[in-house]
């Protein structure tokens, strides 16, 4: 018997029992639809988590000047003088998969406004520092490339510094004195609060790195280069490239002699990886459960259908249907149910994911993988749960089946 004959017989049988067929399909529709909707919500959550973790700096590499050895005594990390601004430029130019490179120097100073004074850390930075630390300016503007080129004495101050030196008045346009030199305040940062380590992130003064190195701190070297890598999976590669590049530039042959160190935020990365894996696992199990329940629904109905149609099976067998003919007929029936259910489920799943995004205020991300996966899974379920009832039908004895009332 031809394959498409079996399909026609199956479709006719399903059509002649419309309500039952639809109810059976409903199990698969809900299963597939739920999987797609859930996974799209999960993907949305995952993306949101990823975004917020990467705003903490998960994709960040920190290049620090090394700790030199002076008469056998190791100095503090970052106190080496071999890391130059040129190194930062070289990293920016030569290494791919990098979003931002932000060199910086820092030192503690007493900052003075009139009769008010405050001890804080002064950072010499470039424009990229704002992006890399996710800083936003509350009022005024941020340090521009022009400020860096012309080594102007301008400063952007954190909220803590502003309130301690200026109280409630707006400090933008006013001057502060650092190391007795006047600096014009061009902007105040938004409140960022405490860092995870308990450090007040608003207690800072930012000035152009060139101004800091040449006019304030009298440095020829920089202390830190923050590098933001474009994606988390490129971190190791970029780290290796930076190390090779800096060794080349500093003429270092043996990695043990490095006069710099490159650190990454592995612990945050690991947290992120395990979090997203957990989300995926959770969704995977929901997918499995709901689809298996749908599949059992198919099996249940197919069992009933086989019993109910015992006589039909007997007639078909008497007229010459073989084991395979009957097997095929019932198997195709259950596959058709699951395929149709799967297709409708995909439509409903995508629609509800969009509706959730629209009205639920949730980010949803619809991807192809869960759609294909749940579809083929539902077809597989139709096949798997169809086999037992179909075998049962195909094995019926025609004499018994014909006698069945």
């Amino acid at each position: 018997m031809l394959f498409n004959e079996s399909v026609i017989i199956a479709l006719k049988a399903l059509y002649s029992n419309k309500l039952r067929s639809i109810l059976t399909m409903l199990g698969i529709i809900i299963g597939v639809g739920a999987v797609i909707a859930m996974v799209s919500i999960g993907m949305g959550v995952r993306k949101k988590v990823q975004d917020s973790i990467s705003s903490l700096g998960s994709n960040m590499l920190i290049v620090q000047a090394g700790a030199p050895r002076v008469n056998g005594v190791r100095q503090a990390a970052g106190s080496g003088e071999n890391l130059k601004l040129d190194d930062s430029d070289a990293i920016k130019k030569k290494i791919k998969n990098i979003d931002y490179v932000a060199p910086s120097v820092q030192k503690a100073y007493q900052v003075v406004n009139g009769n008010q004074n405050w001890n804080t850390t002064v950072y010499g930075i470039t424009y990229e520092y704002m992006s890399i630390r996710s800083l936003t300016v509350n009022s005024g503007s941020f340090i521009s490339d022009n400020d860096i080129n012309t080594r102007t004495r301008v400063a952007v101050i954190g909220a803590t510094v502003a309130s301690n030196l200026f109280g409630s008045t707006n400090p933008v346009g006013k001057n502060i004195r650092i190391n007795n030199d006047p600096y014009k305040i061009i902007g105040v940062l938004d409140n960022k609060g405490q860092s995870a380590m308990g450090q007040d992130q608003d207690d800072c003064v930012l000035i152009p790195i060139t101004t800091a190195m040449e006019r304030l701190m009298a440095l020829t070297s920089i202390r830190t280069i923050n590098v933001q890598v474009s994606s988390a999976d490129k971190i190791d590669q970029v780290q290796a490239e930076i190390e090779t590049l800096l060794r080349q530039r500093h003429r270092i042959k043996n990695p043990a002699d490095d006069d710099f160190q490159v650190n990454n935020l592995t612990s945050i990365m690991e947290t992120m990886t395990s979090t997203t894996t957990m989300i995926t696992l959770l969704l995977g199990s929901i997918a499995a459960i709901s689809l298996v329940v749908g599949g059992i629904g198919i099996m249940n109905i197919m069992m009933v259908s086989v019993t109910e149609r015992t006589r039909e099976i007997g007639i078909r067998k008497a007229l010459g249907a073989t084991f395979n003919n009957i097997m095929m007929q019932f198997l195709i029936e259950s596959i058709v149910v699951s395929v149709l259910g799967g297709l409708v489920g995909i439509i409903i799943g995508c629609a509800s994911a969009m509706a959730i995004a629209q009205f639920g205020g949730f980010n949803t991300v619809i991807t192809l993988e869960p759609i294909l996966l749940s579809f083929f899974f539902s077809v597989g379920i139709g096949l798997f749960f169809g086999i037992y009832p179909a075998r049962k039908a195909a094995k019926l004895d025609p004499i018994e089946a014909l006698r069945y009332e």
Binding site: M1, L2, E5, I9, K12, A13, S16, R311, E312, G314, I315, R316, K317, A318, L319, G320, A321, T322, F323, N324, N325, P398, I399, L402
Partner: protein, 232 residues
Amino acid sequence: MTIRLEGIKKIYQIGTQEVAALNGINLNIKKGEFAALMGPSGSGKSTLMNILGCLDRPTVGSYKLDGKEVAHLSDDDLAKTRNKKIGFVFQNFNLLSRISALDNVALPLVYAGIGRKERMERAYHYLKAVGLDTRADHQPNELSGGQRQRVAIARALVNDPSIIMADEPTGNLDTKSTKEIMNIFIDLHEQGKTIILVTHEPEIATCASRQLLVRDGVITRDAGKGEKMDVV
């Protein structure tokens, strides 16, 4: 010789006891014969009919259908034999209720692997032969008992089988329909078809050219047309 049975026995195991439903049947049926198979219930008549119809296998013995041994074929080979060589007419019609009369007639051809177009042509031809071409699109439940049985006869004929097995074909019919159906069988016999008719009604059996009486698993009488047999 269309049918040749030799030493057919069918033994059922009931608990520890063996019960012989058929106890050594020897029977030859020639091509074109119209044989009525009679016997009281429990005589083994149905078992013999099942074996003749290739629905069942004998425990021992030989069954040659058109010269080919079919007594111990596999299930699938039996199914194929039924499809090609045997046309069934049942007491309760056994039509599929959800498909049209035409599709019912064409059903054996589906399993014979014949294309849709030819199926429909052949089915229509046989439906016309039993006078139901105007009812081709009707479902069985829209037809009378006599009409249903005629659809079933068309279905039995559609694959041009070697024998037609009719199991109490008039058992569920009124007198008028019974007459119609029996006339069709008589016509078929005149056309040279081999027919085996199972019945317990002596009047029906008289239509046949040969009457066989089964009792206690053996054929006790084998008579020609016209002789009335006492079933009980």
